[in-house]
């Protein structure tokens, strides 16, 4: 039930995001800044690996969600 509620909230949030005003390409100088990227940094690559191995939760962060042992 908790998962369903969270899923509904997620879909609602996405619907809200989709109703935003349009930003023109020439207005995106800040949006296109490298720090604004909606992904992990390359320099975080090995940090992502030890989170994957040392914690039970994984995925939904753009990183790897399988492959490799991490059993040590």
């Amino acid at each position: 039930m908790k998962t369903i509620k969270f899923g509904l909230a997620f879909v609602g949030l996405l619907a809200l995001a989709s109703s935003c005003t349009s930003v023109k390409e020439y207005q995106k100088s800040r949006i296109n800044d490298s720090d604004m990227e909606l992904s992990s940094r390359k320099s975080e690559k090995f940090e992502q690996a030890f989170y994957l191995y040392r914690e039970g939760a994984s995925g939904a962060n753009g990183g790897k969600s399988g492959g490799g042992c991490g059993c040590n």
Binding site: R30, M36, G67
Partner: protein
């Protein structure tokens, strides 16, 4: 004279109209784009990770977790336009880790050094994508390979993204499959009489078991305004095969012990939200939140906050803080606490209840003439982080990234 001027005007008009018509049929011939293979960028990342704790799963939830890992990565990206002006991008990534693990030495405590006290992990990957500006789509395919002493993995992935007409919304669908094989090395005292140790010259007849991971993801990225963009991602996953680690020990209340036993399937559902917000002219707020639930009883909340501050256009500092709060898997219990009648059992503290925190700082330099006046040396980034788990495990991570462009 008027006739001459009129004739020149009509001729110029015909020429212009003709050129416009040609452009319609063959594309904009004045906007020529090179179709040669182009080097985009290369990245070198070196990282060192150290951890220590006292809850090793190899010794049943007690004992050293000391581990060091020296990791190196090199990736290179090329691009090329095809005759339909679609941009093909090829990325080749090669990674090699050298790690030492004190706990792994306890698989075979009577020998000086067991099979995986030290190991090299090699994992190259290749990704190809095609971006079509007219259809506003990007399609991608990838393959990844990973090998360790007792583990081998083949990974396949594919995806497609759709960009809205105003280029403010991006929908992405991805799928991946990892087909892994595990060499079943058992703790020395739990091996059947004729079962090999797994050492280099003692592998004849050893068991190999599969572990497969399948996941799909769907994400929407949306530009909200000139300073804010967000992304939501949902990535359900399914695993099957040998999901326990054959050399993890479990001690029961009746003082007997055996190897870890976990179900052969697992379903998980992580849902993530990312946000980037540009504050003023110098500060960016980068946020990430993830909710995770799986059918082994684990629920986790993970949040990450990074605030890059641009001291100058070419130099930034990036403090960050990450916290992860997870509840234990229903199959977890501490050393000597499992009942021998249980169907599944583990004392792996990675599956226990804990709060972990990771705090640190990064610095990035990207001067206009290149680092040390080397024009192609585009930028350099250095990060340090301190990791702490509420059950006592601590870690340190340092990484250095060099970008060549």
């Amino acid at each position: 004279m008027k006739k001459v001027i009129l004739a020149i005007g009509l001729y110029a008009g015909f020429l212009h109209a003709g050129k416009a018509q040609l452009s319609t049929y063959y594309g904009d011939t004045t906007n020529y784009k090179s179709r040669k293979l182009k080097f985009e960028e290369a990245n070198i990342v070196t990282g060192y990770y150290f951890q220590d704790g006292n809850n090793s799963a190899i010794t049943g939830g007690i004992g050293t977790e000391k581990l060091t890992d020296l990791a190196n990565s090199f990736d290179i990206t090329f691009s090329k336009l095809d005759r339909y002006n679609r941009l093909h991008t090829l990325n080749v990534d090669f990674n090699i880790d050298r790690y030492t693990s004190a706990s792994s030495d306890n698989i075979d405590p009577l020998t000086k050094s067991s099979a995986s006290k030290e190991d090299t992990h090699i994992y190259p990957s290749i990704n190809w994508s095609v971006k079509d500006d007219i259809a506003r789509t990007t399609k991608s395919l990838g393959y990844a390979f990973s090998t360790e002493y007792d583990y081998r993995s083949h990974g396949f992935n594919g995806g497609i993204t759709f960009l809205s007409k105003d280029k403010n919304t991006e929908y992405a669908l991805k799928g991946s499959a990892y087909l892994d094989t595990y060499m079943c090395i058992l703790p020395s005292e739990l091996r059947p009489a004729d079962y090999p140790s797994g050492a280099h010259r003692d592998q004849a007849g050893i068991a190999y078991k599969p572990r497969n991971t399948f996941s799909g993801s769907f994400s929407i990225a949306q530009v909200i305004n000139q300073r804010l963009q967000v992304m939501g991602i949902i990535e359900p996953g399914y695993q099957e095969g040998l999901l326990s680690t054959p050399f993890h020990r479990v001690y029961f209340t009746n003082k007997n012990h055996t190897t870890e036993k976990l179900p052969s399937t697992k379903m998980k559902l992580p849902v993530g939200l990312r946000l980037s917000y540009f504050v003023g002219d110098n500060v960016v707020i980068r946020g990430f939140y993830r909710f995770y639930v799986d059918n082994w009883g684990m629920v986790a909340h993970t949040a990450n906050l990074e605030i890059p501050y641009k001291i100058s256009p070419f130099f930034s500092v990036m403090p960050f803080y990450r916290v992860n709060n997870q509840t234990a898997s229903k199959y977890f219990n501490k050393y000597g606490m499992h009942d021998a009648n249980e169907t599944y059992y583990t004392s792996d503290y990675d599956l226990s209840t804990f709060i972990s925190e990771f705090v640190g700082m990064g610095v990035r330099m990207a001067p206009p003439g290149g680092i040390a006046k080397v024009v192609n040396w585009n930028s350099m980034e250095l990060r340090y982080g301190y990791y702490h788990r509420s059950n006592g495990m601590v870690g340190h991570s340092v990484s250095l990234q060099i970008k060549i462009k």
